[in-house]
Amino acid sequence: MFWITSLVAIVATLLAITRLNAIHALLYLIVSLLSVAVIFLQLGAPFVAAIEVIVYAGAIMVLFVFVMMVLDLGPHAVQAEGKLLPRRVWIGPGLLAAVLLVELLVPLAMGSAGPAQGEIQTVGPKEVGMELFGPYLIGVELAGFLLLAGLVGAFHLGREEGA
């Protein structure tokens, strides 16, 4: 199980490195991040896995897509313009994501309680929250400062000249 996931992660990352088109690379990168989330799930960390999917595969990758749309990346973008998402563009990421899906479904079909079986004890959101807002409260505050600084910085940098 673990080896399949890590194989998917490594293959997807390799493909992300070798794709010429930025959007293709991004699709494979998303698959790589999803497979890392599955690894987290197998390690008994469902909360971190959920955060990984939401923040990484969701928010950050959407940011990348937006920037790529604005940049309109040169000849790659032009040559991809004619054929808008042909089948072979998404068939690779789709297959790799399907492997991950099967891996998630098989334990359920076998009647065991998800991937967190054996001696792996799952750490749920409650424990993480108790830890986060207990001993790590200062870290949460600092993360808030960091995100605020990131927000202000991104706004300042992304602003139009002279606006």
Partner: protein, 101 residues
């Protein structure tokens, strides 16, 4: 599955991220490589939290903070990329190696 296996996968992903940041000729790919590197570090943190009981939850908390950091870094980095593009008309690092014009 043993700790070493997870560390091995994490190391492979880390190296691939470094290769991506170093080999591709566009700032976008450099940022993607950075995300991969942070991600590989996350696997390490969660794996240690799982296999070393004395660490406990700290590894997962660390992973969450790394994800927060990655989000902030991506926002700032992409804003800088947009700024560079509007100023120089390119995002190839080779073309923008002068500090001033």
């Amino acid at each position: 599955m043993e700790l070493g296996a997870y560390l091995a996968v994490s190391a492979v992903l880390f190296v691939l991220g470094m290769a991506m940041a170093a080999a591709r000729r566009s700032l976008i790919y450099v940022l993607m490589g950075l995300e991969l590197i942070l991600n590989a570090a996350n696997i390490n943190l969660v794996a240690f939290a799982r296999f070393k009981p004395e660490i406990g939850l700290d590894g997962q908390i660390g992973a969450i903070f790394v994800i927060i950091l990655a989000a902030a870094e991506a926002a700032i980095g992409l804003a800088i990329v947009l700024n560079v593009y509007s100023r120089f008309g390119t995002i190839r690092p080779d073309d923008i190696d002068e500090l001033r014009q």
